[in-house]
């Protein structure tokens, strides 16, 4: 669906933010791209939704979106959840830009807590919504101290957390927002994506941008950058695995959501990435419940 600019909301600038603000955001983004993984402070604006609902991601998208772009918005992998729909409509009404649910058609993908299963390509931009940008925050509450730690690359404490996990649980228990080392220099929180998605970040052809509205930080990973998940030599990084496949499309390589189907313990697993699942079914792949669902 797309609207011409004439049909967009009257009285609002293109993409809601004024041009000076967008310029400020772009400067922050350029700085972030120049120093991969480094958190750049920016003047986060009041947006028409509260903190914690994606204001950072929205400001980043607003900063980069242009008339020729095609926008996809997902929330936990799905295009049709309330928040994804709201944000997509927001941009449609303030920019008139074309929107889509198909990953390969989008030029900008704003996401909350997932990376699309389908590999992204050069020229695409992935915008992550980030709640807490500082990966060291749990260990060191002082901002003055964490800034120093980043400046001096004092990251030993991050391994302390992983050590504690292994000591307590026998394995590294962190399963989302799993800390990564970007370009061999900055420790970064990838936002609360499942660790399943971490490997996708490494050497990705697309540009990855991260926006935290409440914390007022923007960071970035330029295309084809090294991104490594932290681990120990004798406890290497591992992604989640399921015993089941997707009930609808039969996929065994995508991140699965558990769906409770009744109140007597019935459940099924389905792809979190709705577009990916639909695409597979369109190509004739079905899981145990797939054909019945069609």
């Amino acid at each position: 669906m797309s609207m011409s600019h004439a049909q967009t909301l009257e009285g609002y600038n293109f993409a809601y933010l004024d041009e000076q603000t967008k310029r400020m955001i772009r400067r922050a983004i350029l700085k972030a791209i120049a120093v991969p993984g480094y958190q750049v402070p920016f003047g986060s604006r009041e947006m028409p939704l509260p903190y914690g609902w994606g204001t950072g991601g929205i400001q980043v998208t607003a900063g980069v979106i242009g008339q020729a772009d095609t926008l996809k918005v997902i929330d936990q992998g799905a295009d049709d959840t309330t928040n994804a729909v709201s944000i997509r409509h927001f941009f449609a009404r303030t920019t008139g830009v074309k929107t889509t649910e198909r990953t390969e058609e989008a030029t900008i993908i704003q996401t909350r807590h997932r990376i699309p299963e389908r590999s992204l390509s050069e020229g695409q931009v992935l915008v992550y919504q980030v709640p807490i940008p500082e990966p060291l925050r749990w260990l060191e509450p002082r901002e003055t101290e964490t800034r120093k730690m980043h400046a001096l690359a004092e990251y030993g404490v991050m391994h302390v957390k992983l050590y504690e996990d292994i000591a307590r649980f026998g394995r590294i228990a962190t399963s989302y927002a799993y800390p990564v080392m970007v370009n061999g220099r900055y420790l970064m929180s990838p936002s609360p994506i499942p660790k399943f998605d971490n490997p996708k970040m490494d050497n990705m052809p697309a540009l990855q941008l991260f926006g935290a509205g409440r914390e007022k930080r923007i960071y970035a990973i330029p295309p084809y950058t090294k991104v490594e998940s932290l681990d120990f030599e004798d406890h290497p990084f591992e992604v989640q695995k399921w015993d089941d496949c997707c009930a609808l499309c039969g996929a065994q390589d995508s991140y699965l959501d558990e769906v409770i189907t009744d109140d007597v313990g019935g459940r099924m697993f389905v792809c979190s990435d709705t577009d990916y699942c639909e695409d597979r079914r369109a190509q004739g792949h079905f899981g145990p419940l797939g054909q019945a669902a069609e």
Binding site: V160, Y163, E233
Partner: protein, 262 residues
């Protein structure tokens, strides 16, 4: 047979002083410290000894003077002319700092093993099994039951916390350890155990140490040399047994005569 005495001091302090506005916290402090030596700094509250220790250990920038440390790689370097990054690295590897209250020197929410292993991880250790084994080794050395390696220090007694703090500092085999009243606040029997441990570690590891204490018995036991401070100045310094048995300065004589004899 010639017996070598080191040519270069490990730490060389020249005319060190720290003011707070008009208040002179310490001034005119100069001394050299050689490898394997323990220097005791004694004096009553308000003598400036803790301020001095904080300046020496780079916690506080002095108002004047120099602190020159003989680094392993670059030779003698003035501490406050280093970059902050270099100083912080020094404090994590070559130096140790044992604070009076162990809770200030430990991560209370993290297990004993992680507390000891942190410095190793900070300098690049990446093998969990090795780190854990090294941590267990050090817990043994400071006489903490290895079975408590996964317990958090908030469940430890004061004496255990202090020993854990020592292990945490010594794991990277520092050459110089700063201690601020290491036995302060501990029971007498716990003190004895800790002092014995410190003595043993200092001798076996060839550590140098600067120990601030108001307790002359602790100084006699641990220190080779003593510096007596009063109102921010060093009034007497020398061999420990000489300063305590043949004190020259009136204040030192007063201090020594005030020791309670059991």
């Amino acid at each position: 047979m010639s017996i070598d005495i080191n040519a270069t001091p490990l730490l060389s302090v020249q005319n060190l002083g720290k003011d707070y506005g008009n208040l002179v916290a310490c001034t005119d402090v100069s001394f050299d410290l050689w490898p394997g030596e323990v220097l005791g700094i004694v004096g009553e509250s308000g003598s400036g000894k803790t301020t001095l220790l904080n300046c020496l250990s780079a916690q506080l920038a002095p108002s004047r003077g120099a602190v020159v440390y003989d680094t392993r790689i670059d030779g003698p370097r003035e501490i406050f002319e280093m970059t902050e990054s270099e100083r912080r690295l020094l404090m994590r590897t070559d130096w140790g700092l044992v604070r009076q209250n162990p809770r200030d020197g430990l991560r209370l929410g993290v297990s004993a093993g992680a507390n000891v292993g942190e410095r190793l991880m900070a300098v690049g250790a990446r093998h969990y099994g090795d780190i854990r084994a090294e941590a267990a080794n050090w817990l043994q050395k400071v006489e903490i039951d290895v079975g408590r390696i996964d317990n958090v220090p908030s469940t430890f007694s004061g004496g255990m916390q202090q020993r854990l703090q020592i292990a945490r500092n010594l794991v990277t085999e520092p050459r110089l350890v700063f201690m601020d009243e290491p036995t302060g606040g501990l029971d007498v029997s716990v003190q004895a155990r800790l002092l014995d441990l410190l003595r043993g570690l200092v001798t076996r590891l060839g550590l140098s140490a600067i120990v601030v204490t108001h307790d002359l018995a602790v100084a006699r036991l641990l220190a080779h040399r003593l510096m007596v401070m009063r109102q921010g100045r060093v009034v007497e310094q020398g061999l420990t047994d000489q300063v305590l048995d043949d004190p020259q300065h009136p204040y030192t004589q007063l201090l020594v005569s005030s020791i309670l004899q059991p």
